[in-house]
Symmetry: C2
Subunit: 359 residues, 2 copies
């Protein structure tokens, strides 16, 4: 049984394409209670981009600080409830920001039409009804959240996505000008999320000609952006990074992520560590799973003088490490892909604790 | 103003995925008058694949001989009228075949809901209403018709596509096993359609980071399939060709085709020459536009001992050549891309006649 995956419905790509947002939204504004909900990274509050957002008097705009924590089920439920009770059902949700904002926009879109708490729907195909129209404008590239079938949420019990075909955006606007001002470290961590998606997608039992072709091209772009002689934050590389992120996301959609993401989920759930950063922290020590990839990753860390702390685990309690390992162990689809269907014979919970102690 | 393009809604990729067709269609069968219309390449009549098509008693299946001519507006109108008058509006249209069948399925889907002759809608965004559900199963890869926003039809006046976002398939099923039996020459001509899409997409003013990334990877795959040491019709290469076709199609969707397609349209419209073959006939003599591409193309022709006739133009009348040049001249979007907005200062109708005389 092969995956039948949903793609983004419509895609605009190009410098300055953010200015097409108004006309794109105008076709949708008459739906439901005829207003748009904008969820925007708080980073843009007071920045020039804020003035360019095509907000109409009837719209709701929320600036969300995503630096404090990753998107939570409670946060999604609260946004939905407050908008429904004050203004009713929006015509659509527009997310402007990085992976967290993309996930918030996708999750809120679904929760407007699915009753109860979002904790009820964490998992594959648990959502009952299509959400409302949702549009994503990435301002940080790398997570692939603009193309993925999942909206990852941290709930009281688990970090797991609302994953179904209706999660995928109806529209994305890919304007490379928007990612020009990403701070250096985050430019690196988020780009490495794409790199790691590809390495993990390629190294496992679900890899196939389709996921491979996307990973191969995305990796080529990552190398041009992060290791070639023309590497660095340039307009040309920003263009490439937006495409690499999309292609990396498509690769993993049709294959699967692996060991690094399994560990990273543990780090995020228990320590609140941000996803892309957690991936980098974990990947750095996974040479025995992804030898060439980790070597190349270390070269890129060095080249761009990125902060990547070591010996973090000395400050973690046994209880924390055990809790992280448990989160990690409960991601069988990732282990299945990375180590094979007999993965439980190859790695134990204890071994996973050992992996965390390396960090 | 950047293009806002519609992608395929859902995609299955993998060997044996054709067997998922029944379950995919089962979710759609209750729409409209609750039957499916299958349009299938006549090549499969009596072949093993025919028995595997999930046709129910209420369905209509048409085996269409696409060898006699390319899809015509009259043919599309007739299919629509005969089905509507005998059974009513289908729940969906399923196309199983090469590029011509893909275009027939896409065009018929649109014409079920748009009144009058399909000649009324040849062009960009002339279609008024979304068509019915349509699903494509390519059995020959290379044209990119499985992913494109157009359904190319030859009408009494012009060869031009029904081009709009609703043309794009709701679902494609990409099963590389289905292309294993494509005859050698056609395997080459259709694969070269992809190759030429990429070369043309790359060489023109509309090329951008998005179309380039797709072209680059598609070209890499084409080289593995047609020139590398492992080239040839193998299962691995069939997998790759299906992906290359998709990626080549995506590249041109977001950029544009050029000189070769402009000429090829003339050959098809006036002489009825099949699209992929016409592309090869023309591309072979376009070294002054696509120098490296044509060199590589010639090497591939040689390597696979493909029949590519020369000196065809000696049998064409001046009238025919003039008519072909006129068709070609009336494709300004292609010339615009290939030569720039001032293309009329660079090439005349007479020059285009000259290009045809080379063939």
């Amino acid at each position: 049984m092969h995956k039948n995956f949903k793609g983004i419905e419509k895609t605009v790509f190009g410098r300055g394409s953010f200015d097409q947002l108004d006309s794109i939204l105008s076709e949708k504004r008459s739906d439901n209670n005829k207003f748009m909900l904008f969820v925007v990274d708080y980073y843009f509050k007071g920045k020039p981009l804020e003035k360019r957002i095509p907000v109409k008097p009837e719209d709701v705009i929320m600036f969300i600080d995503v630096d404090t924590h990753e998107p939570t089920t409670e946060q999604i439920d609260n946004i939905r409830d407050s908008v429904l009770s004050s203004k009713g059902l929006p015509a659509g949700v527009v997310g402007i920001g990085g992976g967290s904002i993309m996930d918030i926009a996708k999750a809120v879109s679904l929760m407007f039409t699915n009753e109860g708490s979002s904790t009820l729907y964490q998992g594959l195909n648990l959502i009952k009804k299509p959400g409302i129209y949702h549009l994503g404008v990435p301002t940080i590239s790398g997570t692939g959240a603009e193309v993925s079938m999942t909206a990852v949420l941290t709930g009281p019990e688990k970090k797991l996505g609302l994953k179904c075909e209706w999660t995928v955006f109806n529209q994305v606007v890919l304007d490379p000008e928007l990612i020009a001002s990403v701070p250096r470290n985050w430019w690196f961590y988020t780009g490495m999320d794409t790199y790691i998606h590809c390495i993990e997608s390629e190294n496992g039992i679900y890899n196939n000609a389709y996921s491979h072709a996307y990973a191969e091209q995305s990796l080529k772009l990552c190398r041009e952006i992060y290791s070639g002689e023309n590497s660095g934050q340039t307009p040309e590389n920003d263009d490439k990074l937006m495409v690499a992120s999309l292609m990396g996301g498509l690769s993993l959609t049709y294959s699967e992520v692996g060991v690094c993401h399994a560990l990273s989920y543990g780090l995020s759930k228990i320590l609140g560590m941000r996803h892309c950063y957690a991936n980098c922290v974990a990947f750095n020590h996974l040479g025995d799973y992804y030898n060439d990839g980790v070597k190349e990753f270390k070269d890129m860390v060095k080249k761009h003088k990125v902060d990547l702390p070591q010996n973090l685990s000395k400050d973690w309690t046994d209880e924390q490490i055990n809790a992280m390992a448990k989160v990690t162990y409960n991601l069988p689809h990732m282990w299945n892909h990375a180590l094979g269907t007999d993965w439980k014979e190859k790695i134990t919970l204890k071994d996973m604790e050992g992996l965390f102690r390396r960090l």
